[in-house]
């Protein structure tokens, strides 16, 4: 019943949130007020639009993450069969890690890791 349980947990989680929100809508009081439905932000009326451009730094780190996370996915199967592979596997992963660290050093040298 392993994979069935995955669907079950998904349904239970949706049920938990959905039921509680519907229940809250029924029991909670509500009073309509135009002031209340404004965005709170920090207390004073909000100025200008929110959805505009933001710092490119976030994008840069997202790209770096993507590269390294894909590498992590490649390392997982190796970690499981490491004992059977023996020394050959170790040397291969050393080469793989060398390339990986080279990539990190390149990003470092290009000042991609500095937050501005």
């Amino acid at each position: 019943m392993n994979q069935d349980a995955l669907i079950l947990f998904f349904i239970v989680a949706v049920f938990l949130v959905g039921f509680a929100i519907v229940f809250a809508y029924i029991v909670a009081p509500s009073s309509v007020n135009p002031q209340k439905s404004e965005a709170y932000e920090c207390g004073i009326p909000t100025k200008g639009i929110t959805w505009l451009q933001f710092n490119v730094g976030y994008y840069l780190f997202a790209i770096l993450f993507l590269i390294f996370d894909v590498e992590t996915v490649f390392i997982f199967p190796w970690a499981v069969v490491m004992k059977q592979m023996g020394m050959v596997g170790f040397i291969e992963i050393c080469i793989f890690f060398f390339i990986l660290i080279l990539g990190l050093l390149y990003a470092w040298k290009k000042h991609a890791l500095i937050w501005e």
Partner: protein
Amino acid sequence: MNFNIYDFTSFNQWIDNYLYTSLSPFWALIVEMTIIGLVFLTGYALVGLFLVYLERKVCALMQNRIGPNRVGPFGLFQTIADLIKLLLKELISIKQADKLLFNLAPFIVIIASFLCIAAIPFAKGLHAMDFNIGVFYVMAVSSMGVVGILIAGWSSNNKYSLIGAMRSGAQIVSYELSVGLSLITMVVLAGSMQFSTIVEAQSDGWFIFKGHISSVIAFIIFMIASTAETNRGPFDLAEAESELTAGFHTEYSGIKFAFFFLAEYMNMFIVAAIAATVFWGGWMPLHIGGLDGFNHVMDFIPPFVWFFGKTFVIIFLMMWFKWTFPRLRIDQLLTLEWKYLLPINLLNVLLMALMVLMGWHF
């Protein structure tokens, strides 16, 4: 029926057999699923409520206060009272917000944390699923939570929420790497990603002792990275209240806000449970090779007591971090991950692989 608090396998088998002999297969499956769902739902809610109480008590302890002590014995029902209060609060919908995404976000954060609970082994035979890729599954599912946070911050139509969500995104994805690599270090030692196999492999000594230096480094990195991944402690930039009001959940009210809170505490429980399972032996009692008398005494304590004991020790440690260290700046945060933790972690994986190949571990 033979109920045994040391091994739940036969108990589960008994329930399974009973249902399938007395009902048709379809209804047996439905009843079984309902039981599992209700048990985990109750456990999830109880642990979440208890963690909020514990946080306030630990915070009070650190600041030399008493903490909640009015509602029920030792203030134990304080969080239940809070939950009822939050349920009865008005749910405000923001006019300019993206309605669909705004309502979707609490679902995503709760689903991500609830799916993780499924893979955690609480005691021998007491788990909903025993995947052969358990560690990988938990990593994959838990990182789904960041999508919920990003959606919440973006859909609120509020500049501070957006900044909080973006910071949180950058932080969580960065520290995800360290969590993954420190778990890989332990997978190398265990030779499996299945939680039951990992726990069984620690019957003659926990991994933190077995892999000595390399395990200790991996454990420290895991603790730092997982604290950052749960948006807690010195890494709570996403909701830095002095700069961003409340970060990504500023615009949420009532029960929707409560779900973000619950998910945050449950994520803390999940990472603590993973740390306890992978590094401290999960439900396995403390065994020292050679000392048979001592081992028998330790075996006497039920496994789920061991599991929850270890988990709550790690949770206490994480709460201690929160009240000890000042909040980091975002550049310090990213420097710590990319220039220190990641290179150290990569070398540590190689060190562990070499140790396993040479047989230097215990």
